[in-house]
Protein backbone atom coordinates (compact mmCIF):
# COMPACT_ATOMS: atom_id res chain seq x y z
CA UNK A 1 0.00 0.00 0.00
CA UNK A 2 1.04 3.57 -0.60
CA UNK A 3 1.09 5.65 2.54
CA UNK A 4 -2.14 7.51 3.28
CA UNK A 5 -3.66 9.59 5.99
CA UNK A 6 -6.54 8.17 7.92
CA UNK A 7 -9.44 10.12 9.35
CA UNK A 8 -12.41 8.86 11.28
CA UNK A 9 -15.50 10.71 10.10
CA UNK A 10 -17.45 12.44 12.82
CA UNK A 11 -20.47 13.27 10.70
CA UNK A 12 -21.86 12.79 7.23
CA UNK A 13 -21.57 16.39 6.10
CA UNK A 14 -17.99 16.86 7.22
CA UNK A 15 -17.01 13.46 5.80
CA UNK A 16 -18.40 14.39 2.39
CA UNK A 17 -16.66 17.74 2.43
CA UNK A 18 -13.36 16.10 3.37
CA UNK A 19 -13.67 13.32 0.85
CA UNK A 20 -14.26 15.75 -1.99
CA UNK A 21 -10.54 16.52 -2.02
CA UNK A 22 -8.47 14.92 -4.76
CA UNK A 23 -6.97 11.63 -3.61
CA UNK A 24 -9.52 11.12 -0.85
CA UNK A 25 -11.68 8.04 -0.56
CA UNK A 26 -14.39 6.81 1.73
CA UNK A 27 -13.79 3.54 3.47
CA UNK A 28 -16.47 1.57 5.28
CA UNK A 29 -16.10 -2.21 5.30
CA UNK A 30 -12.92 -2.06 3.29
CA UNK A 31 -13.23 -5.57 1.92
CA UNK A 32 -12.77 -4.45 -1.67
CA UNK A 33 -10.82 -1.23 -1.23
CA UNK A 34 -8.08 -2.65 0.98
CA UNK A 35 -7.53 -5.54 -1.39
CA UNK A 36 -7.12 -3.05 -4.23
CA UNK A 37 -4.86 -0.83 -2.14
CA UNK A 38 -2.53 -3.73 -1.46
CA UNK A 39 -2.19 -4.24 -5.19
CA UNK A 40 -1.84 -0.46 -5.63
CA UNK A 41 -4.78 -0.45 -8.00
CA UNK A 42 -6.25 2.04 -5.56
CA UNK A 43 -3.82 4.57 -4.10
CA UNK A 44 -5.79 6.99 -1.95
CA UNK A 45 -3.89 9.68 -0.09
CA UNK A 46 -6.62 10.09 2.47
CA UNK A 47 -9.05 7.52 3.81
CA UNK A 48 -12.20 8.88 5.37
CA UNK A 49 -13.59 6.13 7.56
CA UNK A 50 -17.36 6.29 7.55
CA UNK A 51 -17.75 2.86 9.10
CA UNK A 52 -18.66 4.23 12.49
CA UNK A 53 -21.18 6.87 11.48
CA UNK A 54 -24.31 6.09 13.50
CA UNK A 55 -26.70 7.00 10.69
CA UNK A 56 -25.18 4.38 8.50
CA UNK A 57 -26.40 1.49 10.52
CA UNK A 58 -30.16 1.70 10.33
CA UNK A 59 -32.84 -0.35 8.65
CA UNK A 60 -36.18 1.41 9.04
CA UNK A 61 -39.60 1.45 7.47
CA UNK A 62 -40.42 4.31 5.16
CA UNK A 63 -43.72 6.14 5.18
CA UNK A 64 -44.71 4.63 1.87
CA UNK A 65 -44.33 1.07 3.17
CA UNK A 66 -40.84 0.37 1.97
CA UNK A 67 -37.49 0.16 3.72
CA UNK A 68 -34.66 2.60 4.17
CA UNK A 69 -31.32 0.79 4.50
CA UNK A 70 -28.38 2.71 5.86
CA UNK A 71 -25.37 2.49 3.61
CA UNK A 72 -23.28 1.16 6.47
CA UNK A 73 -25.56 -1.79 7.21
CA UNK A 74 -23.47 -4.88 6.71
CA UNK A 75 -24.47 -7.44 4.12
CA UNK A 76 -25.00 -9.96 6.91
CA UNK A 77 -27.25 -7.69 8.95
CA UNK A 78 -29.32 -6.88 5.89
CA UNK A 79 -29.70 -10.49 4.82
CA UNK A 80 -30.67 -11.51 8.36
CA UNK A 81 -33.18 -8.72 8.91
CA UNK A 82 -36.60 -10.33 9.33
CA UNK A 83 -38.41 -7.61 7.36
CA UNK A 84 -36.08 -8.17 4.46
CA UNK A 85 -36.44 -11.93 4.72
CA UNK A 86 -40.23 -11.76 4.72
CA UNK A 87 -40.89 -8.89 2.33
CA UNK A 88 -37.83 -8.91 0.07
CA UNK A 89 -36.60 -12.52 0.17
CA UNK A 90 -34.96 -11.86 -3.20
CA UNK A 91 -32.58 -9.47 -1.51
CA UNK A 92 -31.69 -11.88 1.29
CA UNK A 93 -31.12 -14.65 -1.22
CA UNK A 94 -28.90 -12.51 -3.41
CA UNK A 95 -26.76 -11.29 -0.53
CA UNK A 96 -26.38 -14.81 0.85
CA UNK A 97 -25.29 -16.03 -2.58
CA UNK A 98 -22.34 -13.65 -2.53
CA UNK A 99 -18.91 -13.93 -0.94
CA UNK A 100 -18.54 -15.65 2.44
CA UNK A 101 -20.02 -14.95 5.86
CA UNK A 102 -16.77 -13.34 6.97
CA UNK A 103 -16.85 -10.92 4.08
CA UNK A 104 -20.56 -10.23 4.45
CA UNK A 105 -20.02 -9.42 8.12
CA UNK A 106 -17.73 -6.59 7.13
CA UNK A 107 -18.94 -5.51 3.71
CA UNK A 108 -21.54 -2.76 3.70
CA UNK A 109 -24.56 -1.96 1.59
CA UNK A 110 -23.00 1.13 0.05
CA UNK A 111 -19.67 -0.55 -0.51
CA UNK A 112 -21.26 -3.52 -2.17
CA UNK A 113 -22.91 -1.26 -4.74
CA UNK A 114 -19.61 0.48 -5.43
CA UNK A 115 -17.36 -2.57 -5.53
CA UNK A 116 -15.15 -2.77 -8.55
CA UNK A 117 -14.95 -5.40 -11.25
CA UNK A 118 -13.21 -8.74 -10.81
CA UNK A 119 -11.91 -8.80 -14.37
CA UNK A 120 -8.54 -10.57 -14.05
CA UNK A 121 -6.87 -7.98 -16.27
CA UNK A 122 -8.04 -5.20 -13.96
CA UNK A 123 -6.45 -7.07 -11.06
CA UNK A 124 -3.18 -7.88 -12.84
CA UNK A 125 -1.29 -4.60 -12.83
CA UNK A 126 1.17 -5.84 -15.44
CA UNK A 127 -1.58 -5.88 -18.08
CA UNK A 128 -3.26 -3.10 -20.04
CA UNK A 129 -6.61 -2.05 -18.63
CA UNK A 130 -8.52 1.09 -19.53
CA UNK A 131 -10.37 1.00 -16.26
CA UNK A 132 -7.17 0.94 -14.22
CA UNK A 133 -4.97 3.00 -16.52
CA UNK A 134 -7.11 5.00 -18.96
CA UNK A 135 -5.84 4.69 -22.49
CA UNK A 136 -3.75 1.59 -21.91
CA UNK A 137 -6.12 -0.72 -23.76
CA UNK A 138 -8.41 -3.58 -22.84
CA UNK A 139 -6.56 -6.84 -22.47
CA UNK A 140 -9.79 -8.73 -21.87
CA UNK A 141 -11.32 -7.92 -25.24
CA UNK A 142 -9.17 -10.47 -27.06
CA UNK A 143 -8.02 -12.22 -23.93
CA UNK A 144 -9.37 -14.85 -21.63
CA UNK A 145 -12.69 -13.23 -20.97
CA UNK A 146 -14.76 -16.06 -19.57
CA UNK A 147 -16.01 -13.94 -16.66
CA UNK A 148 -16.58 -10.78 -18.66
CA UNK A 149 -19.69 -8.96 -19.80
CA UNK A 150 -21.82 -9.61 -22.87
CA UNK A 151 -24.22 -6.67 -22.72
CA UNK A 152 -23.94 -2.91 -22.68
CA UNK A 153 -20.16 -2.71 -22.77
CA UNK A 154 -17.71 -1.25 -25.26
CA UNK A 155 -14.51 -2.38 -26.91
CA UNK A 156 -12.72 -0.20 -24.38
CA UNK A 157 -13.91 -2.29 -21.47
CA UNK A 158 -15.89 -5.50 -21.12
CA UNK A 159 -15.73 -5.74 -17.35
CA UNK A 160 -18.70 -7.15 -15.47
CA UNK A 161 -20.07 -5.84 -12.20
CA UNK A 162 -19.60 -8.56 -9.59
CA UNK A 163 -22.37 -7.77 -7.09
CA UNK A 164 -25.25 -10.11 -6.33
CA UNK A 165 -26.99 -7.74 -3.94
CA UNK A 166 -27.22 -5.02 -6.54
CA UNK A 167 -28.97 -7.37 -8.97
CA UNK A 168 -31.75 -7.98 -6.47
CA UNK A 169 -31.99 -4.28 -5.65
CA UNK A 170 -32.29 -3.47 -9.32
CA UNK A 171 -35.18 -5.88 -9.68
CA UNK A 172 -36.75 -4.29 -6.61
CA UNK A 173 -36.53 -0.78 -8.12
CA UNK A 174 -34.28 0.46 -5.35
CA UNK A 175 -33.03 4.03 -5.28
CA UNK A 176 -29.87 5.26 -3.66
CA UNK A 177 -29.93 8.39 -1.60
CA UNK A 178 -26.72 10.36 -1.68
CA UNK A 179 -25.21 13.31 0.10
CA UNK A 180 -22.96 15.55 -1.94
CA UNK A 181 -19.90 17.41 -0.74
CA UNK A 182 -22.02 20.55 -0.36
CA UNK A 183 -24.61 18.68 1.67
CA UNK A 184 -27.15 18.39 -1.15
CA UNK A 185 -29.22 15.26 -1.07
CA UNK A 186 -30.48 13.46 -4.16
CA UNK A 187 -31.94 10.09 -4.97
CA UNK A 188 -30.88 8.08 -7.97
CA UNK A 189 -32.57 4.98 -9.33
CA UNK A 190 -30.05 2.20 -8.87
CA UNK A 191 -30.06 1.49 -12.57
CA UNK A 192 -28.90 5.06 -13.19
CA UNK A 193 -26.11 4.88 -10.62
CA UNK A 194 -23.77 3.08 -13.00
CA UNK A 195 -22.23 4.62 -16.08
CA UNK A 196 -21.74 2.61 -19.24
CA UNK A 197 -18.03 2.15 -19.93
CA UNK A 198 -18.06 3.80 -23.35
CA UNK A 199 -14.63 5.31 -23.81
CA UNK A 200 -14.26 6.20 -20.12
CA UNK A 201 -14.51 2.91 -18.25
CA UNK A 202 -12.57 4.32 -15.31
CA UNK A 203 -15.61 6.44 -14.46
CA UNK A 204 -18.00 3.89 -13.09
CA UNK A 205 -20.83 5.80 -11.43
CA UNK A 206 -22.56 9.15 -11.61
CA UNK A 207 -21.39 10.06 -8.10
CA UNK A 208 -19.37 13.26 -7.77
CA UNK A 209 -16.21 13.49 -5.67
CA UNK A 210 -17.19 13.47 -2.02
CA UNK A 211 -20.69 12.26 -2.77
CA UNK A 212 -21.63 9.49 -0.39
CA UNK A 213 -24.34 6.89 -0.63
CA UNK A 214 -26.26 7.47 2.60
CA UNK A 215 -28.95 4.91 2.19
CA UNK A 216 -30.78 2.66 -0.17
CA UNK A 217 -34.53 3.04 -0.44
CA UNK A 218 -36.65 0.04 -1.25
CA UNK A 219 -40.17 0.78 -2.44
CA UNK A 220 -42.95 -1.38 -1.01
CA UNK A 221 -42.43 -5.01 -1.97
CA UNK A 222 -43.75 -5.89 -5.43
CA UNK A 223 -46.53 -8.37 -5.81
CA UNK A 224 -45.57 -11.86 -6.83
CA UNK A 225 -42.94 -14.38 -6.12
CA UNK A 226 -39.29 -13.35 -5.81
CA UNK A 227 -36.46 -15.72 -6.71
CA UNK A 228 -32.72 -15.21 -7.04
CA UNK A 229 -30.64 -17.77 -8.87
CA UNK A 230 -26.88 -17.71 -9.15
CA UNK A 231 -24.83 -19.95 -11.40
CA UNK A 232 -21.18 -20.31 -10.53
CA UNK A 233 -18.25 -22.63 -11.01
CA UNK A 234 -18.14 -23.90 -7.47
CA UNK A 235 -20.95 -24.50 -5.06
CA UNK A 236 -20.15 -21.49 -2.91
CA UNK A 237 -17.76 -18.56 -2.54
CA UNK A 238 -17.46 -17.76 -6.23
CA UNK A 239 -18.50 -14.93 -8.47
CA UNK A 240 -21.45 -15.44 -10.76
CA UNK A 241 -21.12 -16.72 -14.28
CA UNK A 242 -24.70 -15.58 -14.58
CA UNK A 243 -27.29 -14.70 -11.99
CA UNK A 244 -30.96 -13.88 -12.34
CA UNK A 245 -33.36 -12.01 -10.10
CA UNK A 246 -37.01 -12.37 -10.95
CA UNK A 247 -40.29 -11.18 -9.48
CA UNK A 248 -43.28 -12.87 -11.06
CA UNK A 249 -46.90 -12.10 -10.42
CA UNK A 250 -49.12 -14.81 -11.70
CA UNK A 251 -52.78 -14.67 -12.59
CA UNK A 252 -54.21 -18.07 -13.32
CA UNK A 253 -52.02 -19.67 -15.91
CA UNK A 254 -50.71 -16.38 -17.16
CA UNK A 255 -48.05 -13.96 -16.03
CA UNK A 256 -49.61 -10.65 -15.01
CA UNK A 257 -46.29 -8.87 -14.48
CA UNK A 258 -42.65 -9.78 -14.14
CA UNK A 259 -39.37 -8.16 -13.34
CA UNK A 260 -36.09 -9.54 -14.58
CA UNK A 261 -32.53 -8.53 -13.74
CA UNK A 262 -29.31 -10.31 -14.58
CA UNK A 263 -25.93 -10.36 -12.86
CA UNK A 264 -22.63 -11.28 -14.46
CA UNK A 265 -23.66 -9.98 -17.88
CA UNK A 266 -22.85 -6.31 -17.82
CA UNK A 267 -21.08 -3.37 -16.19
CA UNK A 268 -24.18 -3.07 -14.01
CA UNK A 269 -27.03 -5.28 -12.91
CA UNK A 270 -28.91 -5.70 -16.14
CA UNK A 271 -32.61 -5.03 -15.89
CA UNK A 272 -34.34 -6.37 -18.97
CA UNK A 273 -37.34 -4.38 -20.07
CA UNK A 274 -37.48 -6.64 -23.14
CA UNK A 275 -37.91 -9.77 -21.06
CA UNK A 276 -40.46 -8.07 -18.84
CA UNK A 277 -42.51 -6.90 -21.81
CA UNK A 278 -42.35 -10.33 -23.35
CA UNK A 279 -43.61 -11.91 -20.15
CA UNK A 280 -46.44 -9.51 -19.42
CA UNK A 281 -49.66 -11.36 -20.09
CA UNK A 282 -47.84 -14.37 -21.49
CA UNK A 283 -48.76 -17.89 -20.55
CA UNK A 284 -46.74 -19.26 -17.64
CA UNK A 285 -45.01 -21.86 -19.75
CA UNK A 286 -41.54 -22.88 -20.72
CA UNK A 287 -42.04 -21.51 -24.18
CA UNK A 288 -42.87 -18.05 -22.84
CA UNK A 289 -39.93 -18.18 -20.50
CA UNK A 290 -37.65 -19.12 -23.34
CA UNK A 291 -39.02 -16.29 -25.41
CA UNK A 292 -38.33 -13.89 -22.56
CA UNK A 293 -34.73 -15.03 -22.45
CA UNK A 294 -34.33 -14.65 -26.19
CA UNK A 295 -35.76 -11.15 -25.95
CA UNK A 296 -33.50 -10.28 -23.05
CA UNK A 297 -30.35 -11.41 -24.81
CA UNK A 298 -31.18 -10.19 -28.29
CA UNK A 299 -28.41 -7.61 -28.21
CA UNK A 300 -25.90 -9.67 -26.29
CA UNK A 301 -22.47 -10.14 -27.80
CA UNK A 302 -19.94 -12.72 -26.70
CA UNK A 303 -16.22 -12.14 -26.83
CA UNK A 304 -15.06 -15.71 -27.23
CA UNK A 305 -14.55 -17.37 -23.90
CA UNK A 306 -17.76 -15.87 -22.55
CA UNK A 307 -20.02 -16.77 -25.47
CA UNK A 308 -21.59 -19.43 -23.30
CA UNK A 309 -23.04 -16.80 -21.00
CA UNK A 310 -25.70 -16.01 -23.58
CA UNK A 311 -27.34 -19.47 -23.69
CA UNK A 312 -26.58 -19.93 -20.00
CA UNK A 313 -28.43 -16.72 -19.10
CA UNK A 314 -31.39 -17.72 -21.23
CA UNK A 315 -31.56 -21.16 -19.65
CA UNK A 316 -31.10 -19.80 -16.16
CA UNK A 317 -33.87 -17.26 -16.66
CA UNK A 318 -36.18 -19.96 -17.95
CA UNK A 319 -35.49 -22.18 -14.95
CA UNK A 320 -35.82 -19.33 -12.48
CA UNK A 321 -39.11 -18.17 -13.92
CA UNK A 322 -40.40 -21.73 -13.85
CA UNK A 323 -39.34 -21.97 -10.24
CA UNK A 324 -41.08 -18.68 -9.43
CA UNK A 325 -44.39 -19.77 -10.90
CA UNK A 326 -44.08 -23.21 -9.38
CA UNK A 327 -43.98 -24.96 -12.75
Amino acid sequence: MKPFRYERASGVASACATAAAPGAKFIAGGTNLIDLMKLQIETPELLVDIGLLPLADIIESTGEGGLRIGAGVTNSALAADMRVRRLYPLLSQAILAGASTQLRNKATTGGNLLQRTRCPYFYDTTKPCNKRVPGSGCAALHGINRMNAVMGVSDDCIAAHPSDMAVAMTALDARVETVAADGAIRTIPIDALYRAPGSTPHIETVLAPGEMIRSVLLPPPPKGRQVYRKVRDRASFAFALVSVAVVVEREGDRVRAARVAFGGLSYKPWRSAEAEASLEGASATRASFDAAGIAALKNARGYGHNDFKIPLARRTLRATLADAVGA
Binding site: F4, Y6, G30, I34, S76, A79, T101, Q102
Partner: protein, 214 residues
Protein backbone atom coordinates in the same frame (compact mmCIF):
# COMPACT_ATOMS: atom_id res chain seq x y z
CA UNK B 1 32.08 1.84 -8.16
CA UNK B 2 31.46 -1.25 -6.17
CA UNK B 3 32.60 -2.12 -2.76
CA UNK B 4 32.08 -4.95 -0.40
CA UNK B 5 29.63 -4.62 2.39
CA UNK B 6 30.77 -5.67 5.75
CA UNK B 7 28.02 -7.53 7.50
CA UNK B 8 27.12 -6.06 10.83
CA UNK B 9 28.12 -9.21 12.58
CA UNK B 10 31.82 -9.04 13.28
CA UNK B 11 32.36 -12.61 12.24
CA UNK B 12 34.97 -13.24 9.59
CA UNK B 13 33.56 -13.78 6.14
CA UNK B 14 36.53 -15.78 5.01
CA UNK B 15 34.84 -19.15 5.01
CA UNK B 16 31.62 -17.75 3.76
CA UNK B 17 33.33 -16.27 0.76
CA UNK B 18 34.86 -19.60 0.01
CA UNK B 19 37.85 -20.19 -2.16
CA UNK B 20 36.34 -21.46 -5.36
CA UNK B 21 36.26 -18.02 -6.84
CA UNK B 22 33.57 -18.24 -9.44
CA UNK B 23 30.75 -19.28 -7.24
CA UNK B 24 31.80 -17.24 -4.29
CA UNK B 25 29.12 -15.10 -2.75
CA UNK B 26 30.48 -11.60 -2.67
CA UNK B 27 28.28 -8.97 -1.21
CA UNK B 28 28.79 -5.96 -3.34
CA UNK B 29 26.63 -2.93 -3.70
CA UNK B 30 26.74 0.48 -5.27
CA UNK B 31 27.12 3.06 -2.53
CA UNK B 32 23.61 4.36 -2.96
CA UNK B 33 22.24 0.94 -2.12
CA UNK B 34 24.74 0.27 0.58
CA UNK B 35 23.73 3.31 2.54
CA UNK B 36 20.36 1.72 2.74
CA UNK B 37 19.73 1.96 6.41
CA UNK B 38 17.24 4.77 6.30
CA UNK B 39 15.94 5.86 9.66
CA UNK B 40 12.86 4.00 10.79
CA UNK B 41 9.63 5.37 9.47
CA UNK B 42 8.81 8.97 10.15
CA UNK B 43 5.27 8.50 8.84
CA UNK B 44 2.48 9.65 11.10
CA UNK B 45 1.38 6.73 13.22
CA UNK B 46 -2.04 6.15 14.56
CA UNK B 47 -2.78 5.24 18.10
CA UNK B 48 -5.01 2.20 18.30
CA UNK B 49 -6.48 0.54 21.36
CA UNK B 50 -7.46 -3.06 20.97
CA UNK B 51 -8.82 -5.58 23.40
CA UNK B 52 -7.47 -8.91 22.29
CA UNK B 53 -8.52 -12.05 24.11
CA UNK B 54 -9.37 -9.90 27.12
CA UNK B 55 -6.06 -8.05 27.20
CA UNK B 56 -5.87 -4.35 26.48
CA UNK B 57 -3.27 -3.13 24.02
CA UNK B 58 -2.34 0.39 23.02
CA UNK B 59 -0.36 0.47 19.79
CA UNK B 60 1.17 3.11 17.58
CA UNK B 61 0.70 1.79 14.10
CA UNK B 62 1.42 2.67 10.52
CA UNK B 63 -2.15 3.18 9.27
CA UNK B 64 -1.44 0.66 6.53
CA UNK B 65 -1.16 -2.16 9.05
CA UNK B 66 -3.91 -4.70 8.64
CA UNK B 67 -5.56 -6.17 11.67
CA UNK B 68 -4.00 -9.49 10.66
CA UNK B 69 -0.45 -8.12 10.60
CA UNK B 70 -1.10 -6.26 13.84
CA UNK B 71 -1.93 -9.54 15.53
CA UNK B 72 0.87 -11.52 13.96
CA UNK B 73 3.73 -9.05 13.78
CA UNK B 74 3.01 -6.61 16.60
CA UNK B 75 1.28 -8.74 19.22
CA UNK B 76 3.03 -12.03 18.37
CA UNK B 77 -0.34 -13.75 18.12
CA UNK B 78 0.68 -15.90 15.17
CA UNK B 79 -2.19 -18.34 15.54
CA UNK B 80 -4.13 -16.24 13.06
CA UNK B 81 -2.78 -17.15 9.65
CA UNK B 82 -2.04 -15.31 6.43
CA UNK B 83 -3.05 -17.56 3.57
CA UNK B 84 -3.84 -15.13 0.78
CA UNK B 85 -4.02 -11.62 2.26
CA UNK B 86 -6.92 -11.01 -0.12
CA UNK B 87 -10.00 -12.26 1.73
CA UNK B 88 -10.18 -15.31 -0.47
CA UNK B 89 -9.16 -18.15 1.84
CA UNK B 90 -10.40 -17.49 5.37
CA UNK B 91 -7.21 -18.50 7.18
CA UNK B 92 -7.15 -15.11 8.90
CA UNK B 93 -10.65 -15.38 10.33
CA UNK B 94 -11.03 -13.88 13.80
CA UNK B 95 -13.98 -12.77 15.87
CA UNK B 96 -14.43 -9.01 16.27
CA UNK B 97 -17.22 -7.75 18.51
CA UNK B 98 -18.82 -11.18 18.23
CA UNK B 99 -18.64 -11.46 14.45
CA UNK B 100 -16.22 -13.38 12.31
CA UNK B 101 -14.30 -11.37 9.76
CA UNK B 102 -11.25 -11.69 7.52
CA UNK B 103 -8.60 -9.83 9.47
CA UNK B 104 -6.50 -9.38 6.32
CA UNK B 105 -9.03 -7.06 4.69
CA UNK B 106 -9.35 -4.57 7.46
CA UNK B 107 -7.00 -2.03 8.95
CA UNK B 108 -6.19 -2.00 12.62
CA UNK B 109 -7.02 1.70 12.78
CA UNK B 110 -10.58 0.85 11.83
CA UNK B 111 -10.91 -1.19 15.01
CA UNK B 112 -10.04 1.24 17.76
CA UNK B 113 -11.71 0.03 20.94
CA UNK B 114 -12.91 -3.27 19.46
CA UNK B 115 -13.10 -6.59 21.26
CA UNK B 116 -11.15 -9.23 19.41
CA UNK B 117 -11.01 -12.96 19.94
CA UNK B 118 -8.36 -15.01 18.18
CA UNK B 119 -7.65 -18.72 18.26
CA UNK B 120 -5.36 -18.17 21.25
CA UNK B 121 -8.28 -16.68 23.16
CA UNK B 122 -10.53 -19.69 22.80
CA UNK B 123 -8.51 -21.70 25.31
CA UNK B 124 -9.76 -21.18 28.84
CA UNK B 125 -7.57 -22.03 31.81
CA UNK B 126 -5.62 -24.39 29.63
CA UNK B 127 -8.72 -26.22 28.49
CA UNK B 128 -9.50 -26.46 24.84
CA UNK B 129 -12.69 -24.80 23.64
CA UNK B 130 -15.19 -27.54 22.75
CA UNK B 131 -14.75 -26.64 19.08
CA UNK B 132 -10.99 -27.03 19.32
CA UNK B 133 -11.40 -30.40 20.99
CA UNK B 134 -13.90 -31.51 18.38
CA UNK B 135 -11.54 -30.58 15.56
CA UNK B 136 -8.86 -32.80 17.10
CA UNK B 137 -11.28 -35.65 17.73
CA UNK B 138 -12.76 -35.62 14.24
CA UNK B 139 -9.43 -34.90 12.55
CA UNK B 140 -10.79 -31.68 11.12
CA UNK B 141 -7.30 -30.63 10.16
CA UNK B 142 -4.19 -31.84 8.42
CA UNK B 143 -1.47 -29.28 7.78
CA UNK B 144 -3.12 -27.04 10.35
CA UNK B 145 -2.61 -23.77 8.54
CA UNK B 146 -6.27 -23.02 7.87
CA UNK B 147 -7.31 -24.53 11.19
CA UNK B 148 -7.37 -21.48 13.49
CA UNK B 149 -9.50 -19.66 10.93
CA UNK B 150 -11.77 -22.67 10.54
CA UNK B 151 -12.28 -22.91 14.28
CA UNK B 152 -12.95 -19.20 14.78
CA UNK B 153 -15.36 -19.41 11.89
CA UNK B 154 -17.08 -22.46 13.35
CA UNK B 155 -17.50 -20.87 16.76
CA UNK B 156 -19.07 -17.79 15.21
CA UNK B 157 -21.19 -19.93 12.91
CA UNK B 158 -22.96 -21.51 15.84
CA UNK B 159 -23.74 -18.09 17.28
CA UNK B 160 -25.05 -16.90 13.91
CA UNK B 161 -27.21 -19.96 13.66
CA UNK B 162 -28.55 -19.46 17.17
CA UNK B 163 -29.44 -15.92 16.15
CA UNK B 164 -31.54 -17.42 13.36
CA UNK B 165 -29.49 -16.33 10.38
CA UNK B 166 -30.39 -18.01 7.10
CA UNK B 167 -27.83 -19.08 4.50
CA UNK B 168 -27.64 -19.59 0.76
CA UNK B 169 -28.92 -23.16 1.11
CA UNK B 170 -31.85 -22.26 3.36
CA UNK B 171 -34.93 -23.16 1.31
CA UNK B 172 -37.04 -20.33 2.74
CA UNK B 173 -34.97 -17.43 4.03
CA UNK B 174 -37.87 -16.28 6.22
CA UNK B 175 -37.46 -19.37 8.38
CA UNK B 176 -34.85 -20.30 10.96
CA UNK B 177 -33.21 -23.32 9.40
CA UNK B 178 -32.03 -26.39 11.28
CA UNK B 179 -28.27 -26.84 11.15
CA UNK B 180 -28.02 -29.64 8.60
CA UNK B 181 -24.69 -30.77 7.18
CA UNK B 182 -25.49 -28.80 4.03
CA UNK B 183 -26.07 -25.68 6.12
CA UNK B 184 -22.76 -26.18 7.93
CA UNK B 185 -20.87 -26.77 4.69
CA UNK B 186 -22.31 -23.65 3.07
CA UNK B 187 -21.62 -21.50 6.11
CA UNK B 188 -18.03 -22.79 6.25
CA UNK B 189 -17.32 -22.20 2.59
CA UNK B 190 -15.39 -19.02 3.26
CA UNK B 191 -12.67 -21.13 4.85
CA UNK B 192 -10.65 -23.02 2.29
CA UNK B 193 -8.86 -26.17 3.44
CA UNK B 194 -6.56 -27.34 0.68
CA UNK B 195 -5.90 -30.56 2.59
CA UNK B 196 -9.68 -30.91 2.28
CA UNK B 197 -10.65 -31.97 5.77
CA UNK B 198 -14.14 -30.67 4.97
CA UNK B 199 -16.26 -33.68 5.96
CA UNK B 200 -14.39 -33.92 9.25
CA UNK B 201 -14.84 -30.20 9.87
CA UNK B 202 -18.56 -30.58 9.29
CA UNK B 203 -18.63 -33.54 11.69
CA UNK B 204 -16.80 -31.57 14.37
CA UNK B 205 -19.21 -28.64 14.13
CA UNK B 206 -22.24 -30.92 14.10
CA UNK B 207 -20.86 -32.64 17.17
CA UNK B 208 -20.40 -29.42 19.11
CA UNK B 209 -23.78 -28.13 18.00
CA UNK B 210 -25.39 -31.25 19.34
CA UNK B 211 -23.55 -30.78 22.61
CA UNK B 212 -21.62 -33.97 22.16
CA UNK B 213 -18.13 -34.83 23.19
CA UNK B 214 -17.70 -37.27 20.31
Amino acid sequence: MERELTPRSSISRRRFLGTAGVTTMVLASPPAFAEATAEPSSLPKENVRLSVNGRQHALDLDPRTTLLDTLREHLALTGTKKGCDQGQCGACTIIVNGQRINSCLTLAVMHDGDEITTIEGLVEDGDLHPMQAAFVRHDGLQCGYCTPGQICSAVALLAEHRAGWPSHVTADVATRPALSDAEIAERMSGNICRCSAYPNIVAAIRDVNEGGRG
